[in-house]
């Protein structure tokens, strides 16, 4: 094993309960073309696709592990690293950009100490700039999980962060 591989192995998450994945796999096991729904279902359960789970899916579905990785890296909606409990998305599409989205993004960077597509070490936040959230009338727009925050200002960013900092992680 090379150093790179060994290091990757060390980075592995300590304990993953595969029985959760098994429940999802069992649901789709006999359906042709089951890889996508299994991967989506598993991601819903774990929040991302841990490597051991990907390998487990490969074994159970009799699909090459490489093929699974190919699918996982093709679609940007699959995540290979743990994600924050609160996913903050800030729109930087044309309308939001004109309304000063850049400043909203920068303020989030300052407050959260994480950049685009990064997750805070305590797994509280993941931050993403997105192209358009489809609600240009509310520009500049931000979302935290499924909650929408329109007409964003720097002041509101501070309020949102303060609010979500208070919420329990578990």
């Amino acid at each position: 094993m090379s150093d790179a591989v060994a290091q990757k192995a060390e980075e592995q998450e300590p304990v993953i309960d595969l029985s959760i994945a098994d429940t999802v796999i069992d649901k789709y096991i006999n359906i042709p073309g089951n890889l996508m729904p299994v991967l989506q279902g598993v991601q819903d359960e774990y929040g991302y696709i841990p490597r051991v789970v990907a390998d487990h899916i490969a074994e159970r579905l009799n699909v090459y592990p490489s093929q699974i990785y190919g699918v996982l890296t093709f679609y940007s909606q699959f995540h290979l690293k743990p994600r924050g409990k609160f996913i903050i998305r800030v729109c930087v599409g044309t309308a939001c950009h004109v309304q000063g989205a850049t400043r909203i993004v920068d303020t989030f960077f300052d407050k959260l100490h994480i950049g685009h597509a990064e997750t805070s070490p305590d797994l509280r936040y993941t931050f993403e700039k997105v192209a358009c959230l489809g609600a240009c009338g509310m520009a500049p727009l931000a979302m935290v999980n499924d909650s929408t925050y329109g007409a964003m200002t720097v002041q509101k960013v501070e309020e949102i962060v303060a609010d979500y900092n208070q919420r329990p992680l578990k």
Partner: protein
């Protein structure tokens, strides 16, 4: 056939052909990068663009477009040339252009096309790729900076090898070929990806910076490992074999090779090769002259039946027949054998009784023509990987059904819709008998006219499916289903491996398989029969030459017993290494110590050779001429690829010289000896070295079927606190020779014991833990491999290794009870 016009030439092509194939068949060259005739059309590179008049002159890819009646195609208009040039400019945009240090240079499709299309400048500008190079394994280097994303490596790994190590990862401009989680490559290292790579992205590391492609001479040869009979092209420079070169038109396997064939050649030019005869003086082997060695040997060979011989089935047909002549006519002994005297009994006794011929009544080409393959033991993939590729292609491309009866799962079990019946070890004959009984009971067949029917029907009485199910640990319904499927298939082929590590694959197993084929009439026609996969490159030849115990001669194991009790005084071992490969190491050692005089002819100072009184250094297959007969009885001629060291002799020269010194007449060349073989050997009539020069020829097999009652001895495979050890071959090795090939030793350097997850948990064994394995005959320490393929209670270990010889705990039983301790 359809008629079409390509470049103003009226041509015809099969209805199923693509434009590219039609052009190629008619001598018109269309450039390709991503297309390979063995793979499904892909259409990624756009080098093969052509214009079709009916499509309003649109440029379409020739490799994916089927021909239609009346098509008018132009393959090289100025517009097409312009388009291809641009394709090349775009491919070269991110390519490092490091041809001066690239081993592919001279054999590189991208380089050749760039030259052909005179792409001497690039209108585009972009950064070069900056992927890290994968040096993770010792055999295959992956430099994705040179990649043109043709996908051939990923496709061959899926479509033919069925391993799926490589795939496209990421998306858009970021796309590259990679492994799971972008790790380094860690696969079965057959190197098929290297063979099809059109650029220098995948290269053989053992060949790195060894020679420029054009500086090597290319010599065709036949692989010297297993019995598949794959053809090789050896790249030779300065009288050294430096690499194997891919030739997509070579052999039935179209140039496909396994890890042994592709990377196992280093033994030919190994520094460990013996170069001088050794004679034991004052207890030590000392370098000597051929004259002295011959004198000593000739003196010892005048012993009549107190002389015995063991020869490896790696020798050529000419050598084996000449050795037999020496032993029978000049020495006067019948005591000679190969492969332990038991590994060939499936052919020499089983098929001989059941089919009236000591050869398989089927060949490898039948695999893809069959409707159902019944494989006994998944090891068929590991013992004969290229046959495994044929099975993969049959199942994946031709929709052939695959049923496996095995004591463990394996790679074949993963093929689409493959059914695997995992039985308790050592009970395969009972399963086959139960199938035969179902065929009779359910009136699925009528074979009452065949010789031996009544006896068989009577003998099968005890094999009702319920009791066999209980005995073997299978479900009765599964056995019934298999029997029905086998009977219903229009064409069905049974495949099983034999070899020194498969003592259970004996005459009885051969008869049990033959019975199924004979009962259902599935033999002697295309896609039907039984294919026995023999272990060594010339195992079938050794049988055809009659180099085994007959007419009261002692067989391999009996010869060793006779050495121990003193009745055999001189033992001539030509190329075998019984100390590692024969069962019960302590017994073999005692026999070799006891025998008065031991002569060994060898490439290397093996541990057996180290015990000898005289060691004669001999040629490898690359240094001599001769013929090998593959497992499906394809006789193939090969010429020396390199000149031999002047100090060594071929076995042929040694046997000739000994015959002369014993007062006999020996033929002066292998080709003369072959004329003698052709005259005397059934099925070889009319063959000669000249007629075999291209492609070889199948020696015919005359079948006269008879039903034979197989003895189903069921091994005890369960005892409190013990596990059932089954022996076998590992994918990377063949016999004991591959220990001298650097490639196989890089990826599989030592013996191991494969343990199921259940047992690993019970014994608290983790991967690579050193485990002490004990049986009644001995104890050995082996590294553990924890795999999902082993059933609980069964462990597997390969037999090839002198450092970790499995025969210390294995005394030749199909199943050995062992205990494990950490």
């Amino acid at each position: 056939m359809v008629n079409l016009t390509i470049d103003d030439k009226q041509v015809t092509a099969p209805r199923t052909a693509t434009i590219y194939e039609a052009a190629k068949q008619n001598g018109i060259k269309i450039p390709i990068l991503c297309h390979d005739k063995k793979l499904k059309p892909f259409g990624a590179c756009r080098m093969c663009l052509v214009e079709v008049e009916q499509m309003k002159g649109r440029q379409i890819p020739a490799c994916t477009t089927p021909v239609t009646e009346g098509m008018i195609i132009r393959t090289s208009t100025p517009d097409i040339v312009k388009a291809r040039k641009m394709v090349l400019e775009l491919l070269l945009l991110n390519h490092p252009l490091d041809c001066p240090v690239c081993d592919k240079s001279g054999d590189c499709d991208l380089q050749n096309l760039t030259y052909e299309y005179k792409v001497n400048s690039n209108r585009f500008k972009d950064e070069k790729f900056n992927h890290s190079i994968d040096y993770n394994n010792p055999l295959i280097e992956r430099d994705m900076n040179r990649c043109v994303l043709c996908g051939k490596c990923a496709r061959i790994c899926d479509e033919i090898v069925s391993y799926g190590a490589l795939t496209f990862i990421d998306r858009g401009i970021e796309t590259k070929i990679g492994c799971e989680f972008d790790d380094g490559l860690n696969c079965e290292f057959c190197g098929s990806c290297i063979s099809v790579c059109p650029v220098g992205s995948l290269l053989a590391r053992p060949f790195k910076h060894k020679a420029r492609f054009w500086a090597m001479t290319k010599h065709t040869s036949v692989c010297g490992y297993c019995g598949t009979g794959c053809n090789l092209t050896l790249g030779v420079k300065d009288n050294k074999v430096l690499t194997t070169i891919y030739d997509e038109d070579q052999g039935f396997h179209k140039g496909q090779l396994c890890v042994r064939g592709r990377f196992g050649y280093q033994f030919i030019n190994s520094a460990q090769r013996l170069t001088k005869p050794l004679v034991r003086k004052n207890g030590r082997l000392t370098e000597s002259t051929w004259e002295e060695a011959f004198e000593v040997v000739v003196g010892r060979l005048k012993g009549g039946s107190a002389v015995a011989a063991l020869a490896t089935a790696r020798l050529t047909n000419e050598e084996l027949s000449l050795f037999k002549k020496l032993l029978v006519e000049n020495v006067g002994t019948k005591n000679f054998d190969h492969a332990g005297g038991y590994a060939h009994t499936a052919l020499t006794e089983g098929f001989a009784r059941s089919f009236g011929a000591s050869a398989s009544p089927a060949n490898i080409l039948d695999i893809q023509k069959s409707d159902l393959l019944l494989v006994i033991k998944t090891d068929s993939y590991e013992t004969h990987p290229v046959v495994g590729f044929e099975i993969n292609m049959a199942v994946k491309n031709k929709g052939v059904k695959l049923a496996i009866v095995s004591d463990k799962r394996g790679k074949l079990s993963k093929l689409p819709d493959a059914t695997t019946l995992v039985h308790l070890p050592g009970t395969e004959i009972a399963v086959l008998n139960a199938i035969a009984k179902i065929l009779l009971d359910e009136k699925l067949v009528d074979a009452s006219a065949v010789a031996g029917f009544a006896e068989l029907e009577k003998a099968l009485a005890g094999f009702d499916v319920e009791s066999v199910a209980a005995l073997t640990g299978l479900r009765a319904a599964d056995i019934k289903q298999l029997a029905t499927d086998y009977a219903a298939a229009e064409k069905a082929l049974i495949i099983f491996p034999i070899g020194q590590a498969y003592p259970g694959h004996n005459a009885d197993l051969a008869s049990a398989t033959a019975n199924l084929a004979i009962l259902t009439g599935k033999y002697g026609k295309e896609g039907c029969g039984v294919l026995c996969l023999s272990e060594k490159n010339n195992s079938q030849g050794a049988v055809d030459m009659g180099f085994y115990a007959q007419d009261g001669g002692l067989n391999g194991l009996a010869i060793l017993d006779a050495c121990a009790d003193g009745s055999v005084k001189t033992l001539f071992v030509a190329g075998e290494n019984p100390l590692t490969s024969y069962p019960d190491r302590s017994k073999v050692k005692a026999a070799l110590e006891a025998v008065e005089f031991l002569i060994v002819s060898e490439l290397f100072l093996t541990e057996t050779a180290a015990m000898a009184d005289v060691v004669l250094p001999v040629c490898s297959f690359a240094e001599k001429d001769g013929t090998f007969t593959s497992t499906d009885r394809r006789v193939q001629y090969f010429k020396a690829a390199i000149r031999k060291n002047v100090q060594i002799k071929s076995d042929f020269e040694i046997f000739s010289e000994l015959i002369k010194r014993l007062g006999g007449q020996a033929p002066s060349s292998p080709s003369l000896q072959f004329s003698d073989i052709a005259a005397k050997t059934s099925g070889y009539a009319g063959l000669s070295h000249v007629s075999l020069r291209k492609d070889g020829a199948f020696a015919s097999v005359e079948i006269s079927p008879a039903l034979v009652v197989p003895q189903a001895v069921t091994a005890v495979c369960a005892e409190q606190g013990k596990l059932a050890l089954v022996t076998g071959s590992t994918l990377y090795h063949n016999g004991t020779l591959s220990q001298y090939g650097e490639g196989p030793m890089h990826v599989c350097p030592e013996g191991y014991i494969e343990v199921s997850r259940t047992d690993a948990a019970a014994y608290k064994i983790a991967e690579n833990d050193l485990v002490t394995v004990s049986s009644t005959t001995g104890t050995i320490q082996l590294k553990a491999k924890v795999t999902p393929r082993m059933p609980a209670g069964v462990v597997f270990s390969p037999y090839h290794f002198s450092e970790t010889p499995i025969n210390t705990i294995w005394s030749g039983a199909p199943v050995t009870l062992v205990t494990l301790a950490k």
